[in-house]
Symmetry: C2
Subunit: 323 residues, 2 copies
């Protein structure tokens, strides 16, 4: 049995890979199934794993011939994480559609040609929501994305559900809250600051916050994110039914809440490294996202939940020390 | 100023063309604008109009070069009606996606390249809804299509909204109830019977009804359909705002109601020409569609409304006599 992760060199892809390698198996239809090969596809083949099971492949996830060469009838589980992030998709419309929409569709077409209906776990996003939203967004709140990123994610969700209904794949679209604290450097996601205002001060650097202190965010820790992806892969199709898009669990916090937590965990000196520098483009995108959603379905399905944001910061500090 | 109708040789395309030719103009931003050219694109160039303004073009609506040759900066209004109907899209997945999804996207791309943000009026459908539905579906009920046709329509709605948000087009997605009484012959729409059980008996022929007598349908007459498309083109963008998908007005009737109306208008002998012949594939598709929806937004925006289904049958009889 093989596993494919697209976006396998990204922070979530690596974290997920590490988790899978440590477990060595994945539970499918009640059976622990060990895997022989873990294929990590990304633009770079930079994969920091010294493990014979790992095959790092460099290429364009929208390249159908490449996908055809990577997915065979032993590929029972595919984690499709590759994406152009929200800020970049807004600035580069065609590139965003190429990766976030077309690559997803080509991957589904590849699976269809193989004919064995592999499990496809697709990371969707809070950005599929927009427009006038209820206080608490539900799994079945209408999708009115107001960003190119959100539109492509919403379309890919529809395709995943349809390919599942037709029996071409066994799909699960997991809507992730904004992941914080993401390790690494700032990126072009509109939500990049949600990690930066914690990560940079902890590293002794200044950080800029482009939104107001009372902006409410819906966050997920990297640990819960990776565990949720594995859980999403292991769920039986029968418990999921026809609705294959799920809002994962998160923490509803304001920027102020986050900075207060940072103060409690790391001290006020660290918090003083954060400066507010309003950016209207970011405020507009982030302001349109829901600040909390109803996660009763995810919880009923056994997806992992969070402690406090203080715990999330401590997790990040442990991860940094460990690496 | 030019107007393009894709699917221009279909019954709704022809009816719309007739309506536009009779008016000779369309009201845009408060001004009556006469048009020089009405381009009808369809698979056949069979257009029964003896009018210098009409240019009938035969070709594939998914052919980007053809679209490029038909849309210029004078094309201010595009009615995008071309579609592979629901039953055929279910049977021929790739063909359905080619026309219902890819052709819609290519048309939007062509408009984007032109750079003048033409009005694009797109016919969407009751089939975008599915799964567990409230008694009365609203404009903002979540889209969970359960047919390949509905999925492609839902995706095209999302693309139309996005291309509108980016300023590439000025889009309006009008969700049409099942149109009845459609003239002509039965087609491969799952809802074909909704016209057949009225049209064929009136023409002295037998008709088969594949669903139960208590099946509730959400219907729109051809006259209201064509008038709604013109009204949708004439609305100012400012009154539409960001939400560009609208549920049009309809009549909520059961098959029994329809046959009783047929009896009142045409006599019991005519009704006796209808036979019930259950077809599970059709029942499954049609049974998943909403039987009524909240049309308060469409009515507030001044879209035309129906009289009774008796009136709809009388309209059909007049149309038949007229042609």
């Amino acid at each position: 049995m093989n596993i494919l992760i697209t976006g396998g060199a990204g922070f979530l892809g690596r974290r997920l890979a590490r988790r899978l390698l440590a477990r060595g198996a994945i539970r499918l239809s009640g059976q622990e199934r060990s895997f022989d090969r873990l294929v990590l596809l990304d633009r770079t083949d930079d994969a920091p794993f010294d493990d014979d099971r790992v095959h790092a492949v460099s290429g364009d996830v929208g390249d159908e011939a490449l996908l055809d060469s990577l997915v065979d009838r032993n590929t029972d589980v595919i984690f499709h994480l590759a994406a152009v992030v929200s800020g970049q998709a807004e600035a580069e419309f065609d590139l965003g559609m190429h990766v976030n929409l077309d690559a997803s569709r080509r991957l589904l077409q590849t699976c269809r040609r193989r004919g064995h209906a592999p499990r496809v776990i697709f990371t969707s996003s809070v950005a599929v929501y927009g427009g006038e939203l209820p206080d608490e967004v539900r799994d079945d709140t209408a999708l009115k994305p107001r960003s190119s990123y959100g539109v492509a994610k919403a379309i890919a969700e529809l395709l995943l559900a349809e390919y599942t209904r037709r029996g071409f794949v066994d799909g699960r679209a997991l809507r992730l809250p904004t992941v914080s604290v993401r390790p690494g450097r700032p990126n072009r996601a509109a939500s990049s600051f949600a990690s930066g205002i914690i990560r940079e001060p902890l590293a002794g650097e200044e950080a800029y916050c482009p939104v107001d202190a009372d902006t409410r965010l819906w966050l997920m820790s990297p640990r819960v994110a990776a565990d949720s992806l594995v859980h999403g892969a292991e769920l039986d199709a029968s418990v999921l039914g026809d609705d294959r898009a799920l809002n994962l669990t998160g923490l509803s916090v304001t920027v102020s809440d986050m900075l207060e937590a940072l103060g409690r965990v790391a001290g006020e000196k660290v918090v003083e490294r954060v400066r507010f520098a309003p950016d209207d483009a970011v405020r507009r995108i982030v302001g349109g996202w829901p600040a909390a959603w109803d996660t009763s379905r995810a919880r009923a399905l056994g997806f992992p939940v969070h402690g406090s944001f203080d715990d999330v910061i401590r997790e990040h500090i442990e991860d940094i020390r460990g690496s």
